[in-house]
Symmetry: none
Subunit: 400 residues, 2 copies
């Protein structure tokens, strides 16, 4: 749904909506058993909810498109992920909770290895340790750029964030990362009018960095890509007339929630921590995005059994949400992460919504096979929130 | 999917994809048996493939829209048929394998009958024979147009193709065919700036043709419509990073394949010919469009039993494709042609895709009833190819 349509229809009321995101929820059958992670896990609570829910699948971005965490979540927040696109640099900055200002320009940085001729031999500098990355970054921070404030922040292994802060900066800067080996890092250059001054700052940084890194092999070069500014998007509060809160422990998801104007609440790493925060803050907000990360991590690690365990952990905890009696409860995933693929995938993601006036589909289990019987079929993930708002009585009639 | 999105996501690899198009595939129940053509045919091979496939239906263009062969195929090639629209003149030229140049202007021609006052009494000239059409066309070719080269080619019965070749020609020319009887043929006129010279050439041709045809009743007039230039579209090779080949015997389908940049391979008229060509060229391409025509012909003829036979012919041959072990095999139709309607129709078309990491739906037969249990539901036909590319590992992640 277009945000303008949502804005015209939305109205406040006293209902509570919970969007519980089980990261990387969808899966594929284990070759030995023919059963997916959800089909393998014992999920009594989820199955009980399924019986009285509207059931189906969400398609995060589009047919065949494997989403990253950014698009996968934005869609569930009601934002069309093809329209509300986040530059890589911003996502990386957001992912470490860097307080990006609207005029900042951020890029993702990689330490890399070059040979004596300056040709890249390893785009990841042998995946140096995060500690080594922090040391190198501390050195890079000393580079003096006349015309902008410089921030360099370690992320993990060979990855860091590069941020310029100042007046009139442009993010129309081409990557210096050629995205292949055997060639040199590219010169910083502007891709649009008015970007030359910023490109010159980046070029100066790159040059000084090359000097500083010269004797730091395997991290003797750096590559920058995805120059971007923090987008200025309509907030969920303004569009959907809700007070939205995010209960997410990991910086990336907190950052995404902030981009759509959610309050990010303090929360520990466990699902019990999430429940405690949800209970404490229940009176203060009317939309809660609760994020559970460990299913995705297990999936990405290709650990089928651990993903199953994590689904059972979710199942045991979910009663804590149900007992709060939210008017609308959505159980969703930002994308599928089948353990057999050890990666995000394009597959539609199991979804259910329990709410007053929902046409319950009576699916007796919450998994990839049973949900096919649901009446939702496969909907665009961005339609889930409008549907929740309707069931919560938060959407007015269209036309007389 | 927008081609720009596909272009950004697509990457090369070593996989092979086969799109097998069974023309006019979908059907409707026979009034005596209540079973569709597919439900009547014994299709052991197709049913076996269905059990391990992602199943559902494709909607060629949109709800309720009956597609011609052009849009039906373009959608399966991944091109939005509402955006990639082929002018009638071009489709007609392509349909007879006329080697249309980018600057040519083509129109579809009809021989017609007029009375003594010049009023059209039959827009199809009593459907003269194709032989007679060829004779008349030979006469029309003698018309001398100062300023452009003229081609007139017979198609079938009263239909022919009219092509102007030269510099600076415009296709913004209104039809001379009024599309009704009891009125005169319309004057050729330009509908946009810069088209007057071309309109004058068409007007001169029409005037000379009228003289030549004066004593050729019932074909004593001609009507032109659908002036168009050959579109210049992004190629499948460029957008999807594949080497695509078409195995199609009929000129129309070869022409459509050429419009999206496929190599058109030499192939005989039978399904065995198609298989032989597929086997021979297996190493040279990575995407194969294999076209089977005769199901559509039988459907258009209203011959239910023959359509059933042709489906069984397909079924017997399909093992030859399976044995090549394509990474992704799509069994699709460009549209439905229910024998009981003896025409193309708007009905969603049976579809299945077998691929690694496909969530097999376990549909135990390939027909209009069983496929309803498939997880795909009804997808836009233009989404089929992106989905195949994802399953073939040819799409990169969207967003981090």
């Amino acid at each position: 749904m277009d945000l303008d349509v949502a804005r015209q229809r939305s109205q406040e009321n006293d209902t509570k909506i919970v969007l519980f995101v089980i990261d990387g929820l969808g899966g594929l059958p284990h070759p030995d058993t023919g059963r997916t992670e959800l089909e393998t896990a014992h999920t009594t609570q989820l199955d009980m909810i399924a019986k009285r829910s509207l059931c189906g699948f969400t398609l995060p971005v589009g047919a065949g498109i494997t989403p990253g965490s950014g698009p996968g979540h934005l869609a569930l927040f009601g934002y069309d992920p093809m329209v509300y696109n986040i530059g890589r640099g911003v996502l990386e900055a957001v992912g470490i909770d860097f307080d990006l200002q609207p005029s900042d320009v951020a890029a993702r940085g990689n330490f890399a290895t070059i040979d004596d001729d300056g040709l890249i031999t390893d785009r990841r500098a042998g995946r140096i340790s995060t500690e080594r990355c922090a040391e190198l970054v501390a050195g890079l921070r000393q580079i003096d750029l006349d015309g902008a404030e410089l921030f360099v922040e370690p992320v993990r292994e060979h990855r860091f964030v590069f941020v310029l802060r100042g007046e009139g900066l442009s993010d129309e800067i081409a990557d210096t990362d050629p995205q292949k080996e055997g060639v040199k890092a590219l010169e910083a250059r502007s891709t649009a009018d008015g970007g030359d001054a910023t490109a010159a700052l980046v070029a100066k940084f790159a040059k000084e960095a090359e000097k500083y890194l010269a004797d730091k092999a395997p991290a003797n070069q750096l590559l920058l890509r995805g120059f971007a500014k923090r987008p200025s998007w309509p907030s969920m509060a303004e569009v959907f007339k809700m007070r939205p809160a995010a209960i997410a422990h990991y910086p990336m998801y907190r950052g995404l929630a902030k981009l759509v104007g959610m309050e990010t609440l303090d929360v520990g790493p466990t699902i019990e921590d999430s429940l405690a925060t949800l209970q404490e803050s229940w009176g203060s907000y009317d939309f809660f995005f609760v994020h559970y990360k460990y299913t995705d991590t297990a999936g990405e690690d290709g650990d089928f059994d651990r993903k199953v365990e994590k689904l059972e952990e979710v199942d045991a905890a979910i009663r804590g949400i149900v007992e709060l009696e939210p008017d609308v409860l959505m159980i969703a995933g930002d994308h599928s992460t089948p353990a057999v693929m050890a990666a995000h995938s394009w597959h539609p993601v199991p979804f259910m919504m329990t709410a007053p006036n929902a046409r319950a589909d009576g699916c007796d289990m919450f998994n990839e096979t049973t949900l096919r019987k649901g009446s939702l079929g496969t909907i665009a993930a961005k339609e889930a929130l409008p549907l929740a708002l309707a069931h919560a009585g938060r959407f007015t009639k269209y036309g007389a």
